[in-house]
């Protein structure tokens, strides 16, 4: 920093700071949840900057965070509750403004009726919110199993892949050890969770001389600064990862000790193909897994301490059944020539030489550049160690892996690489973040049944481990409206929001009464098959009744879905609300600190809006949910703030972990503290509990950590968390598919086939499902999309500043490929999939794999939405790829309809899309399809910073009059050349 404390000449007083107030809160321009410092002048924002003390962003702030002012100024802000006018058709945006009292009365009456009769007739799904602990509790208390957030179409494969393998995951559940890692491989990440920490981390890595390898079909953003770019063909990452495992095994480069001590690699697996029990882990009478002890030369309880289990062993169990270790199966599987680099090259388009070299480079860093952290720690068995051994190879992966129908197994394949290299929760590797790691999988099972006026017996979402855990009827039919936890997708741990509208419209498995959605643009960029879904939302049955009878939308902005609402409940902006980023949900923890945070109202709304948090608590009071009501029938909590302070999930455990106890001195667990909000606000809106050094690593087997995690309610037991290479859960489902399971089994051939094929207990590569069903010669291109860093996960790309960067998206394609096909830069082309076609403008570029085309997602808007003028570029030239993507797989003759999702987790397979491309005829310009212009909302107003200037609208935002820095006339007349 320059020494600028003394300027040579006096400067004017630029800002009157006495008129300003500084308030700390949490950003919500995306899901990264950075700490922000908001400077306010006269209830107007002067400036938003990063909070230097905040664990997530450490003072920095991205483009979105910096554009918060324009979110606050947005003309699309909803102003008052809206009711569809009587006799007006749904979808025509004919609304009347009503009072909050009336809105809540209407909704309460409707919901009360549902709750009294058949609670599952309420489907409640939420989009880009981060308060699933509250919305989930609300749904449980209401008594409907039809609740989920948007994880199913977002990135459940990453969460499930990690939680079913190593107890934490990529996404927000873990981070590379940026301070120590020397080799970082990033898979399928455009911009994603968590945006600022990744940027901070990559710079650190590069400054420390580490190597950064990026696996991605597109070279933009992070891949731009990668030292090596692996331009892989989409949907083939599992093949690449498993081929690298092939190389590691061939060269005997894997961490023996790590595998033996911390994973189920030495567990013995029964090998009796075609018989019941095949592929299950060999267990003793108490259900303990068995291993072969090399010294005792006998079977031993594999969970015991001080045994010497064989990593590779084949033999016969006491009952004569053939058994072998998980590792033996794994090694045999991946040493097969199917996974040779030469074969992988054919699948992934990555040169064999490069695959081999990358695998060996990681092995070198892991095993020849091993690091240690000299801190004494105690393992789960109570043995002391004087240091943590670190293997400084780390990874991060996100949507490019998860948004394929093979994403779960691909994600597991990546974790396998990490595990074989011994890099999980070790110095320099991939570190878990509290409340993770959890036992594998976490011990919550999804609720199965609803009853009138009765809360659910468990949360609507959980982690099945066997067919008994599915949410299905006796006949195997789904119980949930989204068909999550059915044979369609047994491990759909985040629900399947992308199927809700289609299923509700069909009445399959049953019709619903009310669909309530928060912050989810399901008629536009958050749905597959947009044009058809728009029709479904407004479709009527033969009696003239809407097939989805009542649609409630809660949103802060005039998004496309608002158009279809019967009742609109206007939300506040993030600067106008109280909110928690809770440890019960997806907190902001860092690897070495348990953290959570709050938002508080730093601005007063200028319109009649209420935060969805408040509205939910209010509805809970009105509907008299048990958790919200005292025995005498009066409400337990006055409002959201009161609820957050006083609600206890378990004694001493509430939404906020910091400053608990009556005196505010207990952390993580303690009695409610009436002054908890004030304590958070005073601390800059976040709470950070630094873990002691001996709990920084190996937490899956770290006694002190495991004990603490149980004490504060993160985990249910202090048992060692055994990393699951071999997934017995997968095998149980596979046995059900094979007809060899003692328990529920599918009846439909399609389901059996899916279970047999995809529920492999060890990850494998398979061609994404859409690609299996279409002719790749007819549809030669993979079509994927990514959000730009300056709009990723932001709930408003209409932002007046950000849309100046990108108001129109192009279809990017490889230049050489485009030239071969006679497609010119900036020309209009048709892009066609099995589901439809769109017209888009092309841009040619170098940094894209030749068989792939891509675009910036969610730039295209419906004309008139989001407060934009009808002729805005977003609606005239921008486009959505969603039209091309079907929520159902291309039909096979006579087969049942199958969701376009991962067959294991139900993750929406956005990136499986395959297309053909051909030039548009001359004169065919502008994006297609086009939709009618949405009417403006009643009393829509122009933001106060917008004025007319010479026939043009001009925005000029200022929090105070500018103080110019004047140049003296003497200087003008006398200065020479410079």
């Amino acid at each position: 920093m320059a020494k600028t404390s003394q300027a040579a000449k006096p400067l004017p007083k630029f800002e009157d700071h006495s008129k300003q107030e500084t308030k700390y809160t949490t950003c919500y321009m995306c899901a990264c949840r950075c700490g922000i410092k908001v400077t306010i002048e006269d209830n107007k924002v002067r400036f938003i900057q990063g909070n230097r003390d905040h664990p997530i962003n450490q003072g920095v702030l991205c483009a979105k965070g910096n554009a918060g002012i324009m979110k606050q100024q947005s003309p699309a802000k909803l102003r008052k509750p809206l009711l569809r006018k009587q006799n007006a058709e749904r979808g025509k945006a004919e609304f009347e403004e009503i009072s909050w009292d009336k809105a809540l009365d209407i909704l309460t009456e409707r919901l009360q009726n549902i709750r009294d009769t058949d609670p599952k007739k309420l489907a409640y799904f939420t989009g880009r919110d981060q308060m699933q602990a509250l919305t989930g509790l609300w749904a449980s208390q209401f008594g409907t199993i039809n609740w989920a957030a948007h994880g199913g179409f977002c990135s459940v494969n990453m969460a499930a892949g990690g939680l079913y393998t190593m107890g934490h995951a990529f996404w927000e559940f873990g981070d590379p050890d940026w301070d120590r890692t020397k080799y970082f491989m990033m898979w399928g990440v455009a911009e994603d969770h968590s945006s600022n920490p990744i940027k901070i981390g990559i710079e650190k890595l590069k400054r420390n001389g580490g190597k950064f390898v990026a696996v991605n079909p597109v070279r933009t953003g992070y891949q731009a600064v990668a030292d090596e770019w692996v331009g892989i063909r989409p949907g083939t990452d599992a093949m690449l990862a498993l081929s690298m495992i092939h190389v590691l095994l061939q060269n005997e480069q894997f961490d023996w000790e790590f595998l033996i001590r911390y994973t189920n690699a030495p567990y013995l697996v029964v090998n009796t193909p075609g018989q019941k029990g095949d592929g299950l882990i060999l267990r003793d009478e108490d259900g303990k897994p068995l291993a072969w002890d090399l010294e005792k030369e006998d079977f031993v309880d594999a969970t015991q301490v001080d045994i010497k289990p064989a990593l590779f062993w084949e033999g016969q169990a006491a009952d004569g059944r053939p058994v072998r270790t998980s590792m033996s199966i794994l090694a045999e599987k991946y040493l097969d020539s199917e996974y040779s680099p030469e074969n992988a090259e054919k699948v992934c388009g990555v040169p064999a030489e490069q695959i081999e070299r990358l695998a060996l480079e990681m092995a070198h860093v892991a095993f020849k550049e091993t690091i240690t952290v000299d801190v004494e720690w105690t393992d789960w068995a109570g043995r002391k160690h004087d240091k943590f051994i670190g293997r400084p190879v780390s990874m991060h992966a996100m949507r490019g892996i998860s948004a394929h129908s093979n994403g779960f197994q691909t994600c597991r394949a990546l974790h396998f690489l990490q595990i074989l290299l011994g890099t999980v929760d070790v110095p320099g590797g991939h570190l878990a973040k509290a409340p993770y790691p959890k036992h594998i999988p976490p011990g919550i099972k999804p609720a199965k049944d609803c009853a009138p006026n009765t809360p659910l017996s468990s949360p609507p979402l959980g982690f099945p481990t066997c067919p008994e855990d599915l949410v299905i009827n006796e006949d195997g039919s789904p119980k949930r409206i989204d068909k999550a936890y059915s044979w369609d997708a047994p491990v759909s741990s985040h629900g399947m929001m992308h199927m809700v509208i289609t299923n509700a419209w069909k009445g399959d498995p049953y019709p619903i009464d009310t669909l309530m959605m928060f912050m989810a643009n399901m008629s536009w960029n958050s749905t597959m098959n947009t044009a058809e879904v728009m029709k479904m939302l407004a479709d009527k049955d033969e009696n003239g009744e809407y097939k989805i009878p009542f649609l409630v939308i809660a949103d802060a902005f005039h998004s496309e879905i608002v158009n279809y609402a019967d009742l609109v409940l206007p939300d506040t902006t993030y600067l106008e609300r109280f909110d928690t980023v809770s440890m019960l949900d997806r907190p902001i923890s860092e690897p070495h600190a348990a953290c959570d945070s709050i938002r508080h109202a730093v601005l007063t709304p200028d319109r009649d809006v209420r935060s969805w948090q408040e509205v939910q608590v209010e509805l809970a009071k009105r509907l008299k949910f048990p958790a919200f009501t005292k025995e005498d029938g009066t409400p337990k909590f006055q409002d959201y703030k009161d609820f957050i302070v006083n609600f206890e999930k378990a004694p001493g455990i509430g939404f906020l972990a910091g400053w608990r106890g009556k005196d505010g001195k207990s952390h993580l667990r303690g009695e409610p503290n009436p002054n908890q909000w004030e304590a958070y606000i005073e601390n800059g809106a976040f709470f950070k509990y630094d873990l002691p050094e001996n709990m920084h690593f190996y937490r899956f087997a770290n006694k002190d950590y495991l004990e603490m995690a149980k004490e504060v309610g993160w985990n249910g037991s202090t048992d060692q968390i055994v990393i699951e290479l071999y997934s017995e859960t997968m095998q149980r489902f596979r046995l059900a598919g094979q007809g060899l399971y003692d328990g529920p089994m599918p009846t439909k051939e399609e389901h059996k086939e899916r279970l047999k094929t995809y529920f492999d207990p060890l990850p494998f590569h398979y061609t994404p499902l859409e690609e299996q069903r279409i002719n790749s010669e007819e549809y030669p291109f993979h079509a994927v999309n990514q959000r730009p860093m300056y709009m990723y996960h932001s709930w408003d790309s209409q932002n007046a500043w950000l849309r100046q960067i990108t108001a129109q998206n192009y279809l990017f394609m490889n230049r050489q490929k485009g030239e071969e096909m006679g497609i010119e830069d900036k020309s209009w082309v048709w892009v066609e999939s099995h589901n439809g076609r769109i017209r888009v403008q092309v841009k040619l570029m170098e940094g894209v794999e030749p068989n792939t085309v891509w675009t910036w997602n969610a730039i295209g808007k419906q004309s008139g939405a989001w407060g934009l003028k009808p002729d805005a570029d977003e609606s005239q030239k921008g486009f959505l790829m969603n039209h091309l993507i079907s929520e159902l797989l291309p039909a096979k003759n006579g087969e049942m309809e199958i969701t376009n999702s991962d067959p294991i987790t139900g993750q929406a397979a956005w990136y499986d899309l395959k297309v053909k491309i051909y030039p548009a005829h001359e004169g065919e310009e502008g994006s297609f399809p086009e939709f009618e212009t949405i009417k403006p909302l009643p009393n829509a107003t122009k933001p106060d910073h917008v004025q007319e200037h010479k026939g043009q609208e001009v925005g000029r935002y200022q929090s105070h009059d500018a103080v110019n820095l004047k140049r003296p006339l003497g200087d003008i007349l006398t200065r020479g050349k410079k």
Binding site: A8, F47, P75
Partner: protein, 230 residues
């Protein structure tokens, strides 16, 4: 002093944080407001001091993407200042910051013609030329904490790809970076001596693999179990 910026192309991920932070700070800053034309309409555009461009170097598959933020270079031989007829454009003697006095500019655009870097943009509403002030109203504001007395773009940069400092001081952060990392000027052939410098991408260290490669590829059957205590 010779104040300016160093931009590290090795780590800039092209997120536009600097550009928007600049917009945000400066729309209420000394030369604000910064107009946005048709902010909610067709072809939205506006006055920005800082733009992030993306270039591709080399042909596929030997291509590299370069994210390239650009703002005023605060040139030592600032032609924009030389050509300004009104004296509104000037380079401060004490620190080298190039500014436009908004009360004196007549909006002739001539300075923007002289600038090779596209650093100057006319504001149609005020009729004056606007440009990066190096956040003069931050860096000298004694009421701000010392670490906040830096340009907004530098403070906000999530990849720490931007550095602010005094190039006259050979031991400053910016001088050191330029020296150690081979910082370079853009279009040096024009002779404007831009103060801002760009650090080229680093060349990654080679990672050896010969010490982990086996001569004879092993098979499972060959492996001898190691007796490792769990």
């Amino acid at each position: 002093m010779k104040l300016g910026l160093v931009i590290d192309l090795d780590v800039c991920v092209g997120c536009h944080a600097c550009a928007v932070a600049c917009k945000q700070w400066n729309t209420s800053g000394t030369t604000g407001a910064l107009s946005d034309y048709e902010p909610y309409g067709k072809q939205p555009s506006g006055v920005w001091f800082n733009r992030v461009r993306n270039f591709e170097v080399g042909d596929y598959p030997n291509n590299k993407t370069i994210n390239f933020p650009m703002s005023c270079m605060h040139c030592e031989d600032a032609a924009c200042v030389t050509v300004c007829p009104t004296g509104a454009s000037y380079k401060r003697e004490e620190d080298g910051v190039v500014l436009v006095d908004q009360d004196k500019c007549m909006g002739c655009n001539y300075c923007s013609w002289a600038c090779p870097y596209g650093a100057r943009e006319l504001d149609k509403v005020s009729g004056t030329m606007k440009k990066c002030t190096l956040c003069i109203d931050r860096i000298y504001d004694q009421e701000l904490a010392p670490e906040d007395r830096q340009p907004s773009c530098v403070i906000t940069c999530p990849a720490h790809a931007r550095h602010f400092g005094d190039f006259e001081d050979p031991n400053s952060n910016v001088s050191t970076l330029v020296r150690e990392r081979g910082g370079r000027a853009l279009m040096p052939e024009l002779g404007y001596n831009p103060t801002n410098k760009y650090l080229p991408p680093r060349v990654a260290r080679p990672v050896p693999t010969d010490d982990v490669k086996m001569d004879l590829v092993s098979k499972v059957k060959n492996w001898v179990n190691k007796a490792i205590s769990k």
